[in-house]
Amino acid sequence: MRLDLTHIQRWIAPESRVLDLGCGNGEFLELLREQRQVRGTGLEIDGDMITAAISRGLNIIEQNMDQGLANFPDQSFDTVVMAHALQAVHFPDKVLDEMLRIGRQCIVTFPNFGHWRCRLYLGTRGRMPVSRFMPHMWYDTPNIHFCTVKDFEALCALKGIRILARDVVGNTERTPVLAGTWPNLFATTAIYHITR
């Protein structure tokens, strides 16, 4: 289980209704079902992932977020989760608006492009960072909207989105203090609990 997903769990109320955007193979929804008894729905576009998630007994909708979420009624879910997908959608700001319309609360995680390794890579080599966490070349990456912790908070301020909590995952298990103090430099993954 990815660390960001383990972190998210505690923000989700037992027996609540959860929508997971880009749910992958349903690993997280399954965890929530077992640990929190939630009623979950997942959105996914990858066929193999969808089959895997169905095999876990989950309710999965094949739907592309980039084509909108208008089919989900206002405030119809307690929590809308989007883990590691914000940077891959065409209109991250519009997706955030939609998430906050559909869910009373939302949880967003994304890779922090402001991490010191990214900065060092770009600063010293002058090329787009490629790492274990961001393994794609610039021209074939699904990640088309990288942002930093600061960028995301600026967008929230601009849109009047309230940040209920922020959590970070550091480079290693040993660096949570650094990542907690200077998230924009030391967080590899940023995790936000937001509402409107």
Partner: protein, 382 residues
């Protein structure tokens, strides 16, 4: 090619008939005095009677969904790709019931049956039917078989519409509803194609106002033409291009050649039409297309599909096929969206397939994978 001895086949099957003496009140206001249902079953009903699957057939379908009627039967039932040991509807786990709808022409009471009041075939006087009439007639079959609640009701096309109707009419008797390549109602284009099909039949001189049986006639030409029109709508542009292209069956298109050239697709359509008209009843075709035309899932619920689905208490699997233009993916998404808004558990898969509407009958790998994965889930809590 599969055979009756194949380990993934249900093997040789024998249709059975259930007779119901109690009259059936129909949506049109009339009563069907008594009726028979012909059906087949595959697999074993478990001790808890909790593993029963009802298969609903499409417009021109029937009860023979899987297996063979005899050892030298050339073709298996119409959904043999999906029903059998190890197949998505796995008969080593499920007890499958496949029934011919009333109004049909394969053994269940329909226009070809004798009207007890006149002693003659019903013909065009058979009462018009709605999908809900099939549902109610089949609920009695469920009683007869001792099935309180279906583990799943499964159907493609018109069968999918019927499955949805089941979920609203008998919510306590359905745990899962599987709706494949269907719609909540027909579009104007769908209605138009059905009208062309019916006109083809009624304008055949042999049709005799529908009383052709009494005249020992058969409107084969009209029925064949109706099927040809229908068949075009079951295939996609690509599927036809891949299968036939502009290939010629006879003649040439050389200048100076006076012989008429015939394209492969012409002969294919005529063959399909003729095959069909030899095995199907014209009055049934008219009755079934009308039932399809009149179907509107939400009509009795203030035309609100969300309000309609709030009456359902089962989980849904909805599947559509990318090149299906008869019941396009948009129609399936409308079903899914209504289910989401009604807060009903729903899973949706949109399968890339070149084969158009017919895809639901074919072993398309991703379709089979999704179907199988979902059916395992049905099996786990049955």
């Amino acid at each position: 090619m599969s055979t009756a001895h194949d380990s993934h086949s249900v093997g040789i099957v024998t249709p059975q008939v259930a007779r119901f003496e109690q009259s059936l009140p129909l949506a049109c206001g009339r009563d069907l005095p008594a009726y028979e249902l012909v059906y087949e079953t595959y697999g074993e009903l478990n001790a808890q009677r909790s593993n029963a699957i009802l298969v609903c057939h499409a417009l021109s379908g029937h009860h023979h969904a899987a297996g063979y009627h005899s050892a030298d039967d050339k073709r298996p039932g119409w959904w043999d790709e999906c029903i059998g040991p190890g197949k998505p509807i796995d008969t080593s786990h499920f007890y499958v019931v496949s029934v011919n709808n009333i109004g049909g022409c394969h053994g269940s009471t329909g226009p070809m049956s004798i009207n007890p009041e006149t002693g003659k075939p019903w013909g065009p006087d058979f009462p018009p039917l709605r999908a809900r009439d099939w549902v109610h007639s089949q609920a009695r079959l469920a009683d007869y078989l001792g099935i309180d609640c279906w583990a799943a009701i499964v159907g493609g096309s018109l069968g999918g519409m019927q499955a949805m109707r089941w979920s609203l009419e008998y919510p306590q008797r359905v745990r899962h509803c599987i709706v494949i390549a269907a719609a909540m109602k027909l579009s104007a284009q769908n209605l138009a194609f059905n009208e062309v099909a019916r006109q083809a039949i009624v304008s055949d001189p042999q049709f005799a106002g529908g009383y052709y049986q009494e005249h020992n006639a058969t409107p084969s030409q009209g029925l064949a033409l109706a099927r040809m029109v229908g068949h075009i709508t079951y295939l996609s542009d690509n599927a036809m291009a891949n299968k036939f292209g502009r290939d010629l069956r006879s003649g040439t298109l050389e200048q100076g050649d006076q012989e008429q050239a015939e394209f492969q697709v012409q002969s294919y359509l005529r063959y399909q039409g003729n095959q069909f008209s030899g095995s199907f009843d014209a009055n049934t075709y008219i009755l079934m297309t009308r039932a399809l035309d009149y179907f509107d899932l939400a009509r009795e619920y203030g035309n609100d599909p969300v309000a309609a689905f709030k009456n359902a208490s089962c989980s849904f699997l909805v599947m559509s096929f990318s090149t299906d233009w008869r019941f396009s993916p948009e129609r399936s998404r409308e079903i899914v969206d209504a289910l989401i808004a009604a807060d009903r558990p729903v899973t949706y898969a949109e399968i890339e397939a070149d084969e158009g509407h017919d895809a639901f009958l074919l072993p398309i790998p991703r379709y089979v994978d999704v179907f199988r994965a979902y059916m395992r889930r049905v099996g786990e809590n049955s």
